[in-house]
């Protein structure tokens, strides 16, 4: 019964509005039409306003129960949220939400100031961008309320717990390794080949190139890459082979210089280090690729390392390196580029293997311990996957909810 009335009303209103519009089309002045009777919606109830939790302050969460007229084809078109700084003060609109919504977050509530809120249920009719009429009924007021900042984001508790477990495991195994317990690490072909590759360059009397990718020091893959540079440079220094590191970022140049210099010191040949072994080319992705391609062709290195973050230049470099017959060892965490390295290089460190490289090459107990810890984390994830999929498949428990991350 109600629905038919509403429908009828809507139809009537549309028609009357349309005719009114037509009759009025010569007028360009915006005029608000007198609203037909009985279109005012019932106001909302149970309005509540409180500090929006888990944030830095500055926002207030307003909730209400829908107006009884907020139904399909009903009298509510949208809600207006009104705010004032005193209970008797001037209320101004801070936002609106379409009908069917029962909450609003006011993001412009300065931290520590008191506010009062009201919500108005609005019924309005527009035609061709012109307001024909608007009626509204305001709710009772809610307040005062203040926004505050929190010291812990409870929504991220699961991430926190997960972090503690994973980092805890890694630290525990690092400490265990310090006590001298031997740790088994499986063979990683690409890393076993490093020494052979350096040796080959020595035999042939040619250069080694080390390309640390095109990202800057604010990328952890670059950090992983230049850590391996330390080990490779030390080997090269011991073998008395020239290692050259052309880079595309100035900060990486600074860090790589320090690392290579240190490697020469460790190898007992500090005087053999030359500043120009590490040099800058250009910050530009393809400019860098063009220059390195040229260097590859002209200087014909025997061995090339690509370790770091790479984008589209990966294949341009690796194919040119391949064409001159260099041994190429690549490693990156950039998934889109891994297939190209696999196709064009002799050995490729896939994802996690790149990050395991410094531990593998140095065989330092503490670093190996961290690998073991990270494997334990992996074991927990595998168990969770196994258990979770079974539980979810048979509708026993939804384990995935523990892993959901709120951004």
């Amino acid at each position: 019964m109600r629905l038919t009335t509403a429908l009828f009303l809507t139809l009537f209103l549309t028609m009357s509005a349309a005719t009114a519009q037509e009759a009025d089309s010569s007028l360009t002045v915006d005029s608000t039409f007198i609203a037909p009777p009985d279109v005012t919606p019932v106001m909302v109830k149970n309005l509540s306003a409180r500090d929006n939790p888990n944030d830095a302050g500055g926002s207030i969460l307003i909730k209400w129960d829908l107006s009884v007229d907020d139904i399909e084809g009903g009298k509510v078109t949208h809600y207006q949220i009104l705010r004032a700084e005193t209970s008797e003060g001037e209320f101004e609109e801070v936002g609106e939400v379409p009908s069917g919504n029962s909450q609003f977050i006011d993001n412009r509530a300065d931290r520590g100031r008191e506010f009062y809120y009201k919500v108005a249920a609005v019924n309005q009719r527009k035609q061709e961008g012109k307001l024909l009429w608007q009626v509204r009924s305001e709710s009772a007021l809610s307040g005062p309320v203040k926004s505050t900042a929190q010291w812990f984001d409870m929504r991220r508790l699961n991430v926190f717990v997960g972090m503690i477990i994973l980092c805890g495991l890694i630290i525990i195994y690092i400490n265990r390794a310090k006590s001298g317990k031997p740790i088994f690490i499986r063979k990683i072909a690409g890393l076993d080949a490093v020494e052979e590759a350096v040796g080959r360059a020595t035999e042939m009397g040619k250069k080694i190139f080390f390309i640390p990718g095109i990202s800057d020091m604010d990328n952890v893959q670059t950090l992983a890459g230049i850590t391996i540079l330390g080990k490779v440079a030390q080997m090269a220094a011991e073998y008395e082979t020239w290692i050259e590191v052309p880079v595309s970022r100035s900060l990486v140049m600074v860090a790589a210089k320090e690392i290579v210099k240190e490697a020469y010191v460790k190898a007992g040949r500090p005087d053999a280090f030359h500043e120009d072994q590490v040099h800058y080319l250009t910050d530009d992705q393809f400019g860098y690729a063009a220059a390195i391609d040229g260097m590859f062709i002209r200087e014909k290195p025997a061995t090339v390392f690509f370790l770091g973050n790479f984008y589209a230049e990966s294949l341009i470099l690796a194919e040119t390196g391949n064409s001159i017959g260099a041994i190429q060892i690549a490693g990156t965490g950039q998934q889109t580029q891994l297939p190209f390295f696999v196709a064009a290089c002799d050995y490729t460190l896939i994802g996690e293997e790149l990050f395991a490289a410094s531990a593998y090459l140095s065989r330092e107990p503490k670093l190996l311990g961290s690998l073991k810890g990270q494997d334990m984390g992996k074991a927990i994830i595998l168990l969770a996957l196994l258990a979770g999929i079974i539980l979810e498949s048979f509708n026993i428990f939804q384990l995935s909810q523990f892993f959901s991350v709120i951004e």
Binding site: N54, A56, A149, Q150, W151, F152, D153, V159, F160, M163, L166, C167, I170, D216, V220, L223, I226, T227, G230, S250, L251, M253, E258, I259, K261, V265, D276, H279, Y280, L281, T282, Q285, F286, G287, A289, A290, A312, L315, I316, A318, E319, N322, G333, Q335, L338, F340, V342, A343, A344, I350, G351, E352, F355, A356, S358, K366, L367, L371, G377, K378
Partner: protein, 216 residues
């Protein structure tokens, strides 16, 4: 001292940046934004070191009359050309019609677009050489690449039809591989990388991995 202070800075800063994720309270909520601003400024200062390095090495080549020293002259001149124009034109250096914009459109863009386009050739030569059914793993790589490549062009389905397969079969197989096996493989790699990153970063914060600091 020259090593201890940097190690301390790394540890403290690292811990702060882990915590900021969990603490919405100021000033932690602003750390992330600050860092990206600060890093932009540090990077913009550091590029002077890089540029000087490029010029010094090129000049050195010219001075010693190494082979191809003429091209080092070109590097220095083209660097100076764009830098002088860019500084002379001021803050609006990028506006359409400026000299900087002209250099960008007619020198920089064709060079980088063509360098990028070389990939078309290299993709072909890499697949020619590497996609051989040497062993099971290489065969899987080959078959997957083959099917997806065919499934991406209309001709693929036409070939499928000529082999007696129902229409659009090859493209469907390609989509299926992308949605299932590819998803699974990518996920495994992603999770692995994440664990590697956590472990590496933790080693850096704890000061176990410290080679980036160099020597005493």
């Amino acid at each position: 001292m020259r090593r201890e202070i940097p190690l301390l800075i790394t540890a403290i800063v690292g811990i702060f940046f882990v915590l900021q994720y969990f603490i919405p309270h100021p000033p932690f909520n602003r750390l992330n934004g600050w860092f990206s601003d600060w890093f932009s400024i540090i990077g913009a200062c550091a590029i002077w070191l890089g540029a000087l390095n490029l010029i010094r090495i090129s000049a050195d080549k010219i001075y010693r009359k190494r082979s191809d020293w003429g091209f080092s002259v070109v590097i220095i001149l083209s660097f100076l050309l764009i830098v002088v124009i860019g500084f002379k034109e001021g803050r609006d250096f990028r506006n359409p019609g400026s000299g900087f914009d002209w250099l960008y459109n007619f020198i920089y863009t064709p060079l980088s677009a063509t360098m990028f386009a070389l990939l078309a050739f290299f993709v072909a030569s890499a697949s020619y050489r590497a996609f051989r059914a040497r062993n099971l793993e290489a065969s899987l790589l080959l078959v997957a690449a083959f099917l997806v490549m065919l499934g991406r062009v209309p001709v693929g389905d036409a070939i499928g039809v000529s082999l007696g397969l129902p229409e659009t079969n090859i493209s469907k197989v390609a989509v299926w591989i992308m949605n299932t096996i590819n998803t699974a493989g990518q996920r495994a790699i992603l999770i692995g990388i994440a664990l590697g990153v956590v472990s590496t970063s933790l080693r850096i914060i704890l000061g176990i991995e410290r080679s980036y600091l160099g020597s005493e």
